[in-house]
Assembly symmetry: C2
Amino acid sequence: MSRSVLIALGGNAILQHKEKGTSEEQFENVRKTCEEMVRLVAEGYRIAITHGNGPQVGDILLKNEIAKNTLPAMPLDVCGAESQGMIGYMMQQSMYNELRKAGLNIPVATVLTQTLVRKDDPAFQSPTKPIGPFYTAMEASRLRVEKGWTVINDSGRGYRRVVPSPIPASITEGSVIKELFNQGTIVIACGGGGVPVLADENGALQGVEAVIDKDHGAALLATLISADILLILTDVEKVALNYGRPNQKDIDDMTTGEAKMYLAEGHFPGGSMGPKVESAIRFLEAGGERAIITSIGRALDALKGKAGTTIYR
Amino acid sequence: MSRSVLIALGGNAILQHKEKGTSEEQFENVRKTCEEMVRLVAEGYRIAITHGNGPQVGDILLKNEIAKNTLPAMPLDVCGAESQGMIGYMMQQSMYNELRKAGLNIPVATVLTQTLVRKDDPAFQSPTKPIGPFYTAMEASRLRVEKGWTVINDSGRGYRRVVPSPIPASITEGSVIKELFNQGTIVIACGGGGVPVLADENGALQGVEAVIDKDHGAALLATLISADILLILTDVEKVALNYGRPNQKDIDDMTTGEAKMYLAEGHFPGGSMGPKVESAIRFLEAGGERAIITSIGRALDALKGKAGTTIYR
């Protein structure tokens, strides 16, 4: 039986660090990424896709900021939904084209996704995730008062708003995504971790000014659709101990127990490898078969056990 | 057996003419619209939803224009996809909340939609649809040369870009939308008529700088999902002959033959009632049972034959 894989694409699948972010650049990166993903499909893997949205939602927020004297600025949840539309479009078009090129006739669709978070998530007490443009110290003071934002000095580069990054509790469109996936559609969903929403006492949803780590969203989505494998694609081929130091040691495979130990020892920094390893553990503890962290170019080899870092229960 | 209805929402379902376009205004309008649509669902109608995106994509284009010296401006197809994300999010959240309030447990999801148009559509020879910001005469000249745009003097209010408005040929995500609809999901799709794409000689899709009339998109979508009824909601209760003149005469019902005659007589202006009546005819000639044009508040009465204008084969 064909194995099912939830692919979590990092930002570099859509935009490289040195690029400006033109639509041509993004389309070309997405096209290359889709070419690699279609290789998996051609080998019989059933895939669903999720992706980050950091640079895209950042640009949308900044455009809103620059134009704010002319047009009402949209809040973060709406901007996140816009970025899902933008990236989903580029990706579903590119997947369609690359599948067709490979002679594969498989439907592709993006499902706009909301992700429920909990009001009592401790993240709401300590916002940590920088978003949007840089501000001057004076603007920062004004925004703290006027909008009630938390604005911090970001590594001396200027002042930046930080928002909470809560753990996703459930995916509102989960049943729809699962149904489509089970029927053989390549679903693109939960982009940027999904638009974070809170439920009020009556269960009514409302967007909340927060961001969800896309790898945490991916772990939840992979569990929800009962994927066999969570495949997290990033810009390194393997997870490493002592990363970037002379004694760096790449990891071929590890158990969730080992992964937890390395996490506790501080091998995997927050905001980069940390959430990826945590998400792998969460997926495996919820019943997943294996989680793989590798680069896009090594994805197929990694699925065959010949590359990347595989994490087992 | 329950009747199936494709609802085509006009711009006023999301934003009223006098409003600025804040997210609060849009959410509140969408909420009220969803409240009305849920009344239909509560009476047993199975619905799918499509919607216009004019003001939203206009604002996104203008934000891109204002910020263009800082950030790369996105082309029209990408902005259209963003607007589908924005409006789809507001609508699926509001539908979820209103359904829940009514005690109905029905999944809702937005499927990002591309609409295929034909290269040889005569619309590409004569762009007519104004989009985006106003320009000065000097900017207009520059844009004509630099970008190859068609820029016209828009009713003396300034210069504006016009793009082609081709007739939609097929909906790329059609099979997915139909599948979800048949399984009972309230699908929101084909927003703004769908992102227009052209296929090259190999069948590969690429976005094209054009806009699709949302009512034409709605007719195609309604046919595709085999809806019994196409329900076009706008800001008047009935279609009228001699609209706005002393001898105005509201129409309760008409056949497609009568509708064609009135169209030929010039009763329904292009850009407003014209495309709605044309779409109704196209839907009916493709096998639809009836098409209704009415206001949001009269939708349920119109389905029962007590309001609005009904068009039959």
